[in-house]
């Protein structure tokens, strides 16, 4: 087998595996988990009828959504009305391509495309996610969705700035934009959320922790805004905009929006894990070159971490009320932007003492 065809076949296997075995079930069960977590936080039980502990609920939901009437408003711009939900799901799923979700398995690196612009790729594709919402809002030809679309485009553009600036400290330390090198670096020098681990006596590492945590907080908040999760879900603020950009959508098209939101949340968590929590690394567990069982464990560790971050997302959602729109914009432009900017200088001042 030529190396090229080997690459193509393994890539296809990885894409199919990660998409159909991990991401899509994870998306549908994220919806289930969201309902369970919200129920627990509100002293309820949540879905518990379909299957044991309600585990088959996502499948029942899927049938329900498929069987609903697929309604297209007459005033809508049909082509774009149909196109928009697809655009909402695609970027979220494509982003996972550059995220290393495991070390190696049988010598094959567990990342679909290890490009040298990894994090920029994530940002670029994530920034395309806004089209799904904007076009959906516009094509519905209705006031509330339109306002939702406009809000989301302004919100995403504002928070992309802090998103980009917040990760620069990480790459100042790593030295290139490849996400696999980020993980490598963290294996050797400790996770970015706690760089002092393994190097307890180095005061500079302790000092580095502060800006790294600031960077993590700003990045996480920006991811919240980018994925339209609750403290920042202005584009779909029910009380103000009926349902936001998806008001006119029904049936499977609505559920595509719904799933797109969760897919974006999963990829966002995957990026957070890769950047700040050591990716698939867990101290004491060797990588996949020591046997395929460790390769599998690495993958499991990665998705376990992702699940924890997703739980955090949900936890925040069911705790905080929504920000006002002016607060959101003020926070983004006058707060996180500056914090992230200053943070870069702080880290840049510390970096020479670490290397």
């Amino acid at each position: 087998m030529t190396p090229e065809s080997f690459l193509i076949i393994t890539s296809l296997l990885k894409i199919v595996g990660i998409l159909f075995i991990v991401i899509l079930p994870m998306v549908s069960y994220a919806v289930y988990a969201e309902r369970k977590v919200s129920a627990a936080i509100q002293d309820r039980l949540g879905p518990n009828r379909v299957g044991p502990a309600g585990l088959l609920q996502p499948i029942a939901d899927m049938f329900k959504l498929l069987l609903k009437e697929d309604f297209t408003p007459r005033a809508a711009n049909t082509f774009y009305y149909w196109l928009a939900p697809c655009l909402a799901v695609m970027p979220a799923i494509i982003t996972i391509a550059v995220v290393p979700f495991g070390s190696t398995l049988f010598g094959v690196p567990m990342v679909i495309a290890d490009v040298n612009v990894g994090i920029l790729f994530v940002f670029a594709i994530a920034s395309l996610g806004v089209y799904g919402i904007v076009i959906g809002g516009w094509a519905s030809n209705s006031k509330y969705p339109f306002l939702g679309g406009i809000r989301s485009s302004a919100q995403m553009l504002s928070y992309e700035l802090s998103l980009g600036l917040a990760v620069i400290p990480v790459f100042l330390l790593v030295g290139n934009l490849r996400l696999t090198s980020v993980v490598r670096y963290q294996i050797e020098h400790g996770w970015f959320i706690a760089p002092f681990i393994g190097d307890w006596t180095n005061p500079w590492k302790w000092l580095l922790t502060i800006p790294m945590i600031v960077s993590f907080i700003v990045f996480t908040i920006a991811i919240f805004a980018e994925t339209n999760r609750l403290p920042f879900d202005l584009p779909e603020a029910e009380q103000e905009l009926a349902g936001g950009y998806n008001t006119e959508y029904s049936s499977m098209k609505f559920s595509l929006y719904f799933l797109g939101e969760y897919a974006a949340m999963i990829t966002g968590s995957a990026v957070i894990v890769t950047l700040f929590f050591g990716g698939w690394h867990l101290p004491g567990i060797p990588d996949g070159s020591h046997g395929w069982i460790f390769g599998l464990i690495n993958i499991a560790v990665f998705f376990a971490k992702v699940a924890i971050i997703i739980f955090f997302f949900m936890w925040v959602r069911w705790t905080l009320p929504r920000f006002r729109y002016d607060q959101l914009m003020r926070l983004g432009w006058l707060f996180f932007f500056e914090i992230a900017l200053v943070n870069i200088f702080v880290v840049a001042a510390i970096v020479p003492f670490i290397q």
Partner: protein, 167 residues
């Protein structure tokens, strides 16, 4: 990259580039431009210029076009759709485009290195992000800083212009 992929992305870029002009609906034009940018980014990447390609997507498709779309949607340009096509202007435009194309072809075919085959690209080992950064900050640091100041001035100017008059 296989020529097959090259043709796909080249065609994508061209077809949607044409669609920008042909479409009567401004929103459709803007979206066609986005697709055209994506095709262009893919072509860049096929030349191992990952950085340029991804910046193309990030800046043009992800940020600039969103703002464009934003404005177009807010203005709600219905009149454009109703406008008749002026055949004379169209013919003139096509003629100018064809003449330009012919000129480009004739100029390139007279260049000496255009006769040589394209040198094979080095493997994926080149870190183009690092190279661009190094060139930008070592060789062209002053121009880079000047451009930065220029952009800053423009930003401040815009903020000043868009600010409401204090009453």
């Amino acid at each position: 990259m296989s020529p097959f992929l090259f043709w796909i992305f080249a065609l994508l870029t061209l077809i949607f580039g044409a669609a920008v002009v042909i479409n009567r609906n401004p929103v459709a034009s803007a979206l066609s431009l986005v697709v055209s940018f994506l095709g262009l980014a893919a072509l860049f990447m096929s030349l191992n210029a990952y950085f340029i390609g991804i910046i193309q997507v990030l800046v043009y498709a992800g940020a600039v076009m969103v703002l464009f779309l934003f404005i177009i949607m807010l203005l709600n340009l219905r009149a454009e759709e109703a406008r008749r096509i002026n055949w004379l202007a169209t013919a003139g435009g096509v003629a100018v485009a064809l003449i330009l194309l012919g000129q480009i072809f004739s100029v390139i075919s007279h260049l000496k290195f255009a006769q040589n085959p394209f040198p094979p690209l080095a493997g994926l080992t080149v870190d183009d992000v690092r190279n661009i950064g190094a060139v930008l900050f070592r060789n062209y640091n002053l121009p880079f800083q000047i451009v930065g100041v220029l952009v800053l001035v423009a930003t401040v100017g815009v903020v000043l212009l868009s600010k409401r008059e204090p009453r």
